[in-house]
Symmetry: C2
Subunit: 341 residues, 2 copies
């Protein structure tokens, strides 16, 4: 086992260089939550927290750099879905019993890469021993124009429902990671979508400007859309064929690779794409601006007044409502692992 640095060396070497103004080089027990350029009276601070644990959310063999980056990105995805531009994170890091210098250097490299990529500071945190394996709990901070926080409660009948990117890549990628065989090119692309999701941070200003409601898709398109519709008291119906799939996922689907099914793609987790409801009158502007940012957004349908139990109806090729075995709601047996609802 490589030598373990002491705690001071660890923080000095890996974490202090990621700190910004207000955090005293991580030499104090707390930090001032300093918004770069100042918050101003017209903006609010938005805060979110996601925690991930070894064996539950990632395998002991996972590259610690990817653990760090995915932990950051799941949080930034939540902020983007609220229209909030991120500026800082805090990290509570539970170190696994067998951690060593190599583990922390990979973890630190992942933190550094994504703090840089997203322009965010590490403003503090805590390290502790975690007997059951690594635990990474991140709190992320963003800012949004006052009154423009996009909750999942604000959608109205008549709003247009959009989704970003492509759906189901991550659940296919998880299956590819699990099977352990040497992956093809398209399979590698899907696996990366699972291991290192993007966070749609670049879309935050458009969510802020246009969205009546939004949320990120962490537990599957169908289930998360149902949460949004129920929270807002609306329904929606659209052909399943309208859901954007990647070329790579379509390839597995048409080859019926290892039981990959349309249902699996539509209900699998870890997409980290965004569901965004936009009032009819500004839907075209939103689409145009997203296109200017080179982010694919797809219209899924128009929200209607709530029709009770089945808030979300996806139609098959014959126009019949599809039935999904995985519901919109999960017990702790397969616990929601992506934030409170």
């Amino acid at each position: 086992m490589a030598k373990r640095p002491d705690e001071f060396a660890l923080i000095e070497r890996w974490f202090a260089p990621l700190s910004g103004s207000g955090s005293f080089g991580l030499k104090d027990d707390a930090a001032i939550l300093a918004v770069p350029g100042g918050l101003g009276s017209e903006r609010d601070i938005v805060v979110t927290n996601d925690a991930i644990a070894e064996t539950v959310h990632f395998l002991p063999s996972t590259d610690p750099a990817l653990i760090a980056r995915k932990a950051i990105r799941t949080n930034l995805s939540d902020l983007a879905a609220k229209g909030a531009t991120p500026f800082a994170i805090s990290l509570a890091l539970g170190l696994p019993p067998d951690w060593d210098a190599r583990w922390i250097s990979r973890f630190g490299a992942g933190m550094k890469a994504d703090c840089k990529a997203y322009g965010i500071d590490l403003n503090g945190g805590d390290t502790f021993r975690s007997p059951g394996g690594a635990v990474v709990s991140i709190t992320a901070y963003g800012h949004v124009a006052r009154g423009r926080y996009a909750s999942r409660l604000g959608a109205s009948a008549g709003d247009v429902l959009f989704v970003t990117g492509t759906i189901g890549d991550a659940v296919a990628g998880l299956e590819i990671a699990r099977q352990g065989e040497s992956p093809t090119g398209p399979q590698r692309w899907l696996e990366k979508r699972y291991l290192l999701p993007q966070a749609r941070v670049e879309l935050a200003p458009l969510v802020e400007r246009y969205a009546s409601a939004a949320m990120d898709i962490s537990d599957g398109l169908v289930g998360d859309l149902e949460k949004l519709c129920k929270a807002s008291g609306v329904s929606v119906e659209f052909p399943a064929a309208d859901v954007p799939l990647s070329r790579q996922a379509k390839g597995l689907l048409s080859a019926k690779w290892r039981g990959i099914s349309l249902e699996g793609l539509l209900t699998g987790g870890d997409d980290y794409e965004l569901l965004i409801a936009v009032p009819q009158g500004s839907a075209a502007s939103f689409e145009r601006e997203a296109s200017n940012l080179s982010v694919a957004v797809t219209r899924l349908g128009t929200l209607e007044a709530s029709k009770g139990a089945n808030a979300v109806r996806l139609l098959d090729e014959d126009g019949r409502a599809m039935k999904f075995k995985r519901g919109s709601y999960r017990h702790f047996g397969e616990m929601d692992e992506h934030g409170w609802e």
Copy 2:
């Protein structure tokens, strides 16, 4: 095993009632960090994070209400030491494999008791399965007058060093909890000081007004004072007999109960009292105002210009500098468990 509530029921029943404005009843993935009454342009938000894990910081048999309350208090202690008045917390809760309705109801009762006692909201969080036992990671938010955040770096030669309350009760209480025999009255008092520390929140406005530097004592008086002195570039010397001890701790000390020693009390962890440096000219006012709040504060000495390696010298009855086996700095073997430094 008592029945487990599903996640929605758990949050609805135990956590949503603790939420305040800006957090949508915990029905969203994030929250607006709303300072009651508004932040104003003359105040800053202060953030801190402490995480605790089963078997490392508490035993599996610990009452979950006490786990919750101690997790909150260690964070509020950090805020108070910075002069910050708390207003909210976020919670990342890793549930142990054997959690059940009783476990969560006790945990929730502890959260509720301390959110109420300290007037703070729960603004969100995350729940996840934790194979290695319960993990409680809390991020706490406070506010402080701009420019009055009390770091550990700001003390100057000539400042008077104060400590609150009494020192060493918690480490004696831990020993009492460990021995498992039926405790006497004074022993029960000490055990409670370990299991349920106070957080000196009521002193935050005085720290804000008077302190040139401050920190809470979580890893032992001697070690933490050395951190403060080194960070500020000062030294201090005072008789060990000046350190305030409780009547109960003095009782164990004079009875030489189970090897309890003065060194043990002065270097043991979990006090959650505050070290506060105050400029000479306002030391008397600070003392008077603390007395008005019925918080005991004791003068330990006057800070001097740094004398190099030994920043902290406690003198024995013969006026000789005491030597401590436990240093001011600890490796991960006995990891600092109370925040970054």
